[in-house]
């Protein structure tokens, strides 16, 4: 049954963001603010970087504000000047990425002014941005959200998001796939990966794909075939999931932007689940010096080793 998600607070949240952005830009506390602005199409939104207080009025928050803006603060985005302190509008899920980036020496907390967003959820896809937010149109990640109110921000509007308990799609889908035979799982992923066109949108929007030169863009050796054939596609998605294991906190941007609808976040969630079970590690909650795959204990599980 389709449930409507209450997003009435977003108007007040938008106003609060505007006021705060205006204040910090006027006071010179930040040199720029990364946020969302309305775009041409009805109900649409797009990322924006503003540097002057008069532009603060452009900032909005709506269900179409899907992007994880953390990507703009990484070294992969050389276009954003990184001088001085930068303000950024973050949802709870985006904040986890920032936390991860701090742990990986990519960002420093004191260089950021975090404007947290009380968020009841955003759209799964913005192919039709003026869609109302319901249990059908909501992003699957929002169904499993544990951070409707981001913690540890410099500013959070006072509104409280209403978030009904909804069915957790990833958990259910992972369980469904796990119950299949290896051959069936292979068939499932083969069909999905064969659609891949290697547009690398998944990589480019990922806050953790901040490498200056992706392993897959290197050709001495060619670790992963670059052509968008089923073989190279499969290798690419396996390597991508492995590189994100223990780091990805589930912003699901990879999955949202995939023009071929490949359920990429399933891989990431599966790895997160495994690392939680193996090493009791969850990404994104605190700035960790070491992730689960660059640390160890002498007593780690080795039941799989002969």
């Amino acid at each position: 049954m389709t449930q409507t998600i209450d997003t009435t607070i977003y108007a007040a949240v938008s106003e609060a963001i505007q006021a705060e952005a205006k204040r910090i830009l006027t006071a010179g506390e930040v040199t720029a603010v990364v946020g969302y602005a309305a775009a041409r199409r009805k109900g649409s939104a797009q990322p924006i970087v503003i540097t002057s207080a008069v532009d603060a009025q452009k900032l909005i928050f709506t269900p179409a504000c899907v992007n994880n803006l953390a990507v703009y603060l990484t070294k992969a985005k050389k276009e954003i000047p990184k001088s001085g302190r930068i303000g950024i509008v973050v949802k709870g899920c985006d904040l986890k990425a920032l936390v991860g980036l701090m742990g990986e020496s990519q960002l420093k907390r004191e260089q950021l002014y975090l404007i947290g967003v009380p968020c009841a959820g955003v759209l799964a896809s913005t192919i039709q941005p003026d869609t109302g937010l319901t249990s059908d149109s909501i992003a699957p990640k929002c169904l499993e959200c544990d951070a409707h109110l981001p913690q540890g921000c410099d500013f959070v509007p006072t509104q409280t998001p209403v978030s009904p308990e909804l069915e957790k799609k990833y958990a259910a889908e992972i369980a469904r796939l796990e119950a299949l035979t290896p051959q069936e799982r292979w068939a499932y992923w083969k069909e999905q990966f064969s659609k891949c066109i290697k547009c690398y949108a998944c990589r480019q929007v990922c806050p953790f794909c901040f490498c200056e030169q992706c392993l897959c863009d290197r050709n001495k050796p060619q670790m992963v075939d670059t052509t968008p054939r089923p073989a190279g596609n499969t290798a690419w998605h396996i390597v991508r999931a492995m590189h994100l294991a223990g780091r990805c906190a589930g912003c699901a941007e990879c999955e949202r932007v995939c023009p071929m609808d490949i359920p990429l976040n399933l891989l990431n969630r599966k790895m997160a689940k495994e690392l939680k079970e193996l090493y009791d590690y969850e990404a994104g909650f605190q700035v960790n010096d070491k992730g689960p795959l660059n640390s160890y204990t002498e007593k780690d599980d080795q039941s799989f080793i002969k």
């Binding site: 290896p182 054939r229 390597v239 599966k270």
Partner: protein, 166 residues
């Protein structure tokens, strides 16, 4: 001399990634002790299991391996202090990923074989070879390698032949 060896219909290709200090030396010991094991394994030497990138395992399957073995020093014996501890976590995670995309983990074996365990090397290699032999060829990656996007496909006799060869 030796009795005629049993011939098999299928000889699997097994690729072993091993560390130089323990498992490679263990395999050397199996040699100096003249132990016998199936000739299916090809050994790639690394300084340490810590050096073994998961991509290599993927590459091995893509290049037609029917089984892959990763073997190094027992915990605490690493010549490089902790390389095998890092490897252990890395592969614990990676095998779960491979399993999730549909690779049968029976084809991927991890082991600790010390420089003194020539016998264990023989056992691990023999077991994996026999297990994979019974499972038959690893067709998934080989089929994938031949697959094209529909738009790039030309139905050539060679392609069909290659397909049938799997």
């Amino acid at each position: 001399m030796h009795p005629e060896k049993l011939k098999h219909d299928f000889e699997p290709k097994i690729i072993a990634f091993v560390c130089t200090w323990c498992t490679y030396a263990g395999a050397d010991l199996a040699g100096t002790s003249r132990m016998q094991y199936p000739a299916n394994v090809r050994v790639l030497k690394f300084p340490c299991t810590g050096r073994i990138d998961p991509v290599f395992i993927l590459k091995a399957f893509q290049q037609g391996a029917d089984g892959v073995l990763v073997s190094g020093c027992h915990p605490g014996d690493c010549h490089y202090i902790a390389g095998n501890f890092h490897a252990r976590r890395r592969f614990a995670a990676f095998r779960k990923l491979l399993e999730f995309v549909g690779v049968d983990l029976e084809r991927l074996q991890f082991s600790w074989v010390s420089a003194a365990e020539g016998g264990k090397w023989v056992e691990v290699v023999t077991d994996l070879t026999e297990k994979v032999r019974n499972m038959g060829p690893m067709t998934e990656f080989k089929e994938l390698a031949l697959e094209e996007q529909w738009s790039g496909t030309i139905d050539t006799p060679e392609l069909k032949e290659a397909y049938n060869a799997i």
